[in-house]
Symmetry: C2
DNA sequence: TTAAAAGATGCAATCCAATTGCATCTATGG
DNA sequence: CCATAGATGCAATTGGATTGCATCTTTTAA
C-alpha cells in the first residue's frame, strides 16, 4: 500500500493530495500557484509537523523546486489563511502541518525528546494549572507532552 | 521601599542579593567569578524570566560589564549546575531565572501575549491530555498559560 | 484574446540569537 | 607566590528567518 495515512485512518494517494491541495487553495481566496500547491501537498501528506528543511527536501524529492524565501512566504501565507498551523519548539525551529489534518482550534502536542518529531494530538484536553497571581488574565492554555515516539521508544 | 520583591513576598535588598548569589556559587562547585556573581544577582532580583539582552542591560545598569559570549557561557553553566532555569518561547529567545526563586522541578509558565514576559508559576499542576496514539511514551507534560500580565491587562 | 494590475517569486543582502576557536587572563589549591 | 585548570574576551561563524527590490505570473476586465 503506497498511500499515506490520513487523519481519518484512511489512506490518501499522491494524486488525491494534489486534488485536495487544489481544493483547499481554491476555497481560500488567493492565487493558486505551483509553490503553494507543492507545499500544501507535502503538508497534507505528513502526520508529523514538518520543518522548513523537511518541506524543502520533500518538495525536491517530488522533482519540484521552490526557493527558500518563497517557501517561508508560502508558509506564512498558509498560516494566515488557516490552511497551516505553526508550532514552536525548544530547538528554535518552526514546524508546520496542514490544518486539514488536525483538530480545529487549540490542541495538545507531543514532542519526541530523541528525534525531535512533533505531532498534533486530537481530542479534548484540559489542565489543572496552579492559581494565577492577582491580575494575570488567562486566555489560552498550551500543553506539550514530551516523551518518546514509537520509533524512538523501546 | 527600594527592595526587590522575592518569592516569599518579602523584599531583598541589593546587598542581600550579592550575599545570596555568593552563597549559591560557593555551594555549587566551580569558581566564583565576577561574571557569575553579576548574572546570578540579576536573576535573583527578577520575578520574571529574563532574556540575554535583559540580563546584559541589567548588568550594565549596575555599572558592571560582561562580554556577550561570557554571558551565554555563564548562563549555560548556571543551568548545568541547576542554579538557573532556561525557558523557550515562541519568539525563539531563551529566558532565564534563578532556580532559587521558583518551585523545584517541573512547573507551569505564564506568557503575556502583549509584552512577551514569562513568569514561572508555583504550585502543583496536572493535565488531562488526549489519549496518546499507540506506542507513544509520555515522560513529562509542559503547560504554558498564555494571556495578559497585570501590566498589560485592563 | 489581450492588456493591465495586483500579487507572487527569485536572488542577494541582511538580521539576530547563539556558537565556536583560540589566545589570554584569573581564581584557586598547594 | 606558582602552577594550572578553568574562565574570559574578541573575532569569526553558524543557521533560521527576514527584507528590498527587480522580475515574473496569475487573475480580472476590457
Ligand atoms: Mn498542532
Ligand atoms: Mn520556570
Ligand atoms: Zn522520536
Ligand atoms: Zn505583559
Amino acid at each position: 500500500m503506497s498511500g499515506i495515512e490520513c487523519c481519518n485512518g484512511l489512506t490518501m494517494a499522491e494524486s488525491d493530495l494534489q486534488t485536495r491541495a487544489r481544493e483547499l487553495l481554491r476555497a481560500a481566496d488567493g492565487r493558486i500557484t505551483s509553490a503553494r500547491l507543492a507545499v500544501l501537498e507535502v503538508l497534507l501528506g505528513s502526520a508529523a509537523a514538518l520543518s522548513h528543511h523537511e518541506i524543502e527536501n520533500a518538495i525536491a524529492q517530488r522533482g519540484r523546486d521552490v526557493d527558500r524565501v518563497t517557501l517561508y512566504r508560502v508558509l506564512d501565507w498558509l498560516v494566515e489563511r488557516d490552511l497551516a498551523h505553526r508550532i514552536a519548539s525548544e530547538d528554535r525551529i518552526w514546524r508546520f502541518n496542514a490544518v486539514d489534518r488536525v483538530q480545529a482550534g487549540d490542541h495538545a502536542h507531543f514532542h519526541c525528546t530523541r528525534c525531535g518529531q512533533i505531532v498534533c494530538l486530537d481530542g479534548p484536553y484540559s489542565s489543572a494549572a496552579p492559581a494565577l497571581p492577582t491580575g494575570y488574565q488567562p486566555e489560552r492554555t498550551e500543553i506539550t507532552i514530551h516523551g518518546r515516539c514509537p520509533g524512538c521508544a523501546g
